[in-house]
């Protein structure tokens, strides 16, 4: 714990003292970059290993919800309750368990991740799920997002194309008694027409195209939520809304508020 606090304090001091000086020369920037890299590595390790053991997980989950989700403005009580209940550490590989409640995505293999807790809560909130709803999820991954949804709605249909992820996810969800989740190991592009329409569709794998079959299976008044962007890039969330008359509109949202201007151009009159 002591090391963790020291690492964080060090990181903050460096940021405050050096990084915020916009006129720092290049050499100083380079040194800062090196220190930040080292600080990030140290911070990552320290934060992850600080508290472990089965008994500590409920407490860590509560803290996760308070510090990472509520603190960032998510107020939907159903979403917060679901995030408090689902044992996230059981959805990650054993070697990543100690990092399961950290404020970042966790790799689950096969180029996939279990999203950052805030992103899971944020996307769930955007979907606006309610008891009685039927939700379709494309990209089961570890099954964590499906479990969170299953805490709120009546029926969750989830599709995963990678068999090595689908099979353990199905076992995991069954073992945790999420019997209202139905999983299929197939191509999500075509949705699940037999059970359509859906009140909401959540696509948890980055998409290179919004599949028209999914749009067709979205009920009027429903929302579709998709992440866009590659794991190596700034990812953002896209929401597609289908009006009661069937017309579509969309908007892109960033998981953080990012103002791209710096300096004097901020005052330029548009």
């Amino acid at each position: 714990m002591q090391f963790s606090r020291n690492a964080k304090a060090f990181h903050i001091i460096v940021t405050e003292v050096f990084v915020n000086r916009s006129t720092s020369p290049s050499l100083l920037r380079f040194l800062i970059f090196t220190i930040l890299i080292l600080g990030t590595v140290a911070g990552a390790d320290a934060a992850g290993e600080s508290e472990s053991g089965e008994a500590a997980y409920p407490e860590r989950r509560t803290k996760m919800v308070e510090q990472q989700i509520q603190a960032r403005g998510i107020e939907n009580e159903a979403v917060l309750r679901a995030m408090r209940r689902v044992p996230r550490h059981l959805f990650v590989p054993e070697e990543e368990m100690s990092r399961a409640y950290n404020d970042h995505a966790v790799p689950i293999g096969f180029g996939q991740t279990i999203s950052q807790p805030f992103i899971v809560a944020y996307m769930t909130d955007l979907l606006n799920p309610e008891p009685g709803d039927r939700i379709l999820e494309i990209g089961t991954g570890s099954g964590y997002q499906a479990a969170v949804l299953a805490e709120i709605v009546d029926e969750v249909y989830t599709v995963e194309i990678i068999a090595e992820l689908a099979v353990p996810a199905a076992d995991r969800l069954a073992a945790l008694d999420y019997h209202n989740v139905v999983l299929a190991n197939t191509d999500g592009y075509w949705g699940w027409p037999d059970n359509a329409p859906f009140d909401g569709i959540i696509v948890t794998a980055a998409a290179g195209h919004i599949p028209p079959p999914l749009v067709a299976q979205l009920a009027p008044g429903g929302h579709m939520v998709l992440p866009m962007g590659h794991p190596y890039e700034t990812q953002y969330i896209t929401v597609i809304e289908k009006s009661m008359s069937g017309t579509l509109s969309g908007r892109q949202l960033l998981p953080v508020r990012f103002v791209p201007f710096t300096g004097h151009i901020e005052s330029v009159e548009r």
Binding site: V19, A44, P231, Y232, E233, I240, G250, R251, H264
Partner: protein
Amino acid sequence: VEAALFLMSFTVIYLQVALMRLLNHAFYGTFTSLVISLALLGFGAGGTFLALNRRRIEGRENRWLAAFAGLTAFGVIVSILAVVHIPLNLAYLPYNPGESIRFILIVLAMLPAFLGGGSFIGLVLISSRRRRGRIYGLNLLGSGAGGLAAFGVMYVRPPVHLPVLALIPVAGALILTGSKTKNIGKILTGMLAAGCLVLSVVWNPPDRIDQYKDLAGIRRLEDQGGARLIASVDSPQGRIEAYASPSFHYFLFAGLEDTASLPEQIGIFRDGNLIGAPFAHAVDEDSSILDRSLPALAYRLTDPRQVLIIGDAGLNGVRTAIRSGAGNVTLVLPDQRLKYFLENELGFADGNILGHPRVTVVAADYRRYMLEHPSSFDIIHLAAAESLAVPSSGFGSTQDEYLLTVDSMSSAIKSLTSDGVLTISRGIQTPPRDNLKLFLTLSEAIGAAGIKQPENHLLMVRGYLAASNMAFRDRLEADRLKTVRNLCRDWALDIEYEPGAGDAPPGYYKFQLPGPEGSGDTWLRHTARLAAGGRTGDLIRSWVFDIRPSTDRRPFFHSFFRWRNLDRFTEYYGRYWFRRSDLGSLILVISLASTALLSFLLILLPHFTGRARLGTGFLAYFPAVGMGYFFLEIVMIRRAALFLGDPHSSVPIVLAAILTSSGAGSLIQERLEWSLFRKTSVALAFLTASMLLFFLPASTMLPWISALDKFGVVFPFLFVIAAAGIPAFFMGWFFAPGLDALGRRHPEALPTAWALNGFASVVSSPLAVLTAMNLGYLGTAAAAIGVYGIACVLAVGYREN
């Protein structure tokens, strides 16, 4: 020993090029500098080892040479094992200590081969007190041959097999040096050589692909029977693989309300990155999704009699043109291999669209083709810019892109007919960067093409995933704008910029992107209007990303990271800042820092321990020469990519030309009975003059290359070899005579000189790229000439007796 030296020099450069190729294929091009640094670190650390163990080595040179060759053989095997087998998740590099450790292990595993090779060459060079120029020349000739051999082998073997073949010349060196040792040495080296030869034939390492590369996903489908490899081909331009899968769907350019589903597609990957997704079969009604796509827009805005499509490996652009009623469509592909691949191996794709009577396929350099066809095309579609994979663009920040420069775009605009349109589509990022840089580049290019008021010739339209930037040779008049608005309304597209664009009214967008607070505009619209309104300078200075238009002298289109905005990334993304920044630039700096640290520990620090002393101030000559050599090498390799139209070919060709030519220079200079100062100053004068050729504008150089190309495809290569060979010949006049001069006064300082030269070279590899990214290639060349000048000044005070 001389034959063994040739083979070891061959091995080191061959292995260097082979590992660069393998890492580029398995991971990303950013690691190129790391391999170069490690190779040079091997030389530097080898020099230090020799300096510290002179007494132990003296009299036992043959035994040590055999040991160094053995270490190289061991290193080749270890480096391949590490690259293909050690698990690594680059996205979590600074977040998971396990990933950092595994990354360091891969780096360290690549060192022994170069340490063995560098020590071998260093020992031969140091122990041959006479004919040092000949030895140095043989070293460079062997190195040049190794580079050329690697280039040739790339045509016939996949990337993962390339380094395996390095075991063959090592086996030769082992046999030659082992034969000079005592019995046990002969047995050991013989066994090791035999093992190397057997491995070079039977070893088939797994073909690793980073789990985040596009190809990794389709290979997972292949493992479960959901995809199959149709065809593959190897070349220096990369390994191209085509997979068929009913579960593969990729199309960035649809409008929000497009109800047509994608037909079955084929994924074409180059080194694991998706470069195209043609339709597997092509019944005309199946491809109706193309009719309302972003690239189709241009066909509604002009009469498409003559259409030029650049680099459309996915063939969707060609199909769009045919569906839109284009008269004649010319598809230009960058190399013969890709042309052959698409026309033959994938001849069935999209209903053999390339066999359509209105389609002509040409393999040519894009830039030269456009220069050769002024005022010829009604539409130019730069489809290659679409396949410059957006996901890997962060890793591509250190790579040249001569297609997306002001000079290139200006040439494209001049190739348009009077009512022609140039169209380029790219994926959208938030905050904007690619499309904003494209918009500014097009704006500058229109001006460079001699057209007044560029803001009246530009249009930006987008869907929900991508935007099309269009440049019109004619001013965009009201009737055309009306057509654009109607089409966008019908196809559910949004107009981000049109001449005279005002504030976006409420409810304007079908798909709303983030924008300035309190405004209905998106950032794209806001910034495009600023740029069009004459605020380009302010915008470029203030934007969070580097959006300066790239030019032929600084062709880093994919470089967006700005050091001065590091604080904004850390502020907004917290500990995520590393993953959200351009990893290419960051990993380059990490490479610089780590190799500088390693070379400080392995090369410089031992010289401050008291066991070996620097001895003379003249030693500063050697790092200066090392840095100058490396900076010019990088400049020539990168500039030659413009002349050859291909960065992959230019690396081995120019490298081989530089090494052989500077080797020849080193041999020739030995015959001149001149002082060191006279030699270096004459060399510097010729060097400076001959480098000017590399900085003639493309509009002058490319027609020369085209003229040569008419005599035969080999002539542009010969031109580049000659262009690089002349300055390189004089670059060979510095190091060996410097060693000679030092050896006469301070022979004990020779290993230190070797080590210092190695240290400077190690640091120079990533430093040269960073310099070029900031100052351009002219600035980098000027810096090189400057440090060579310092070497000349040091030579003044070191006149020989």
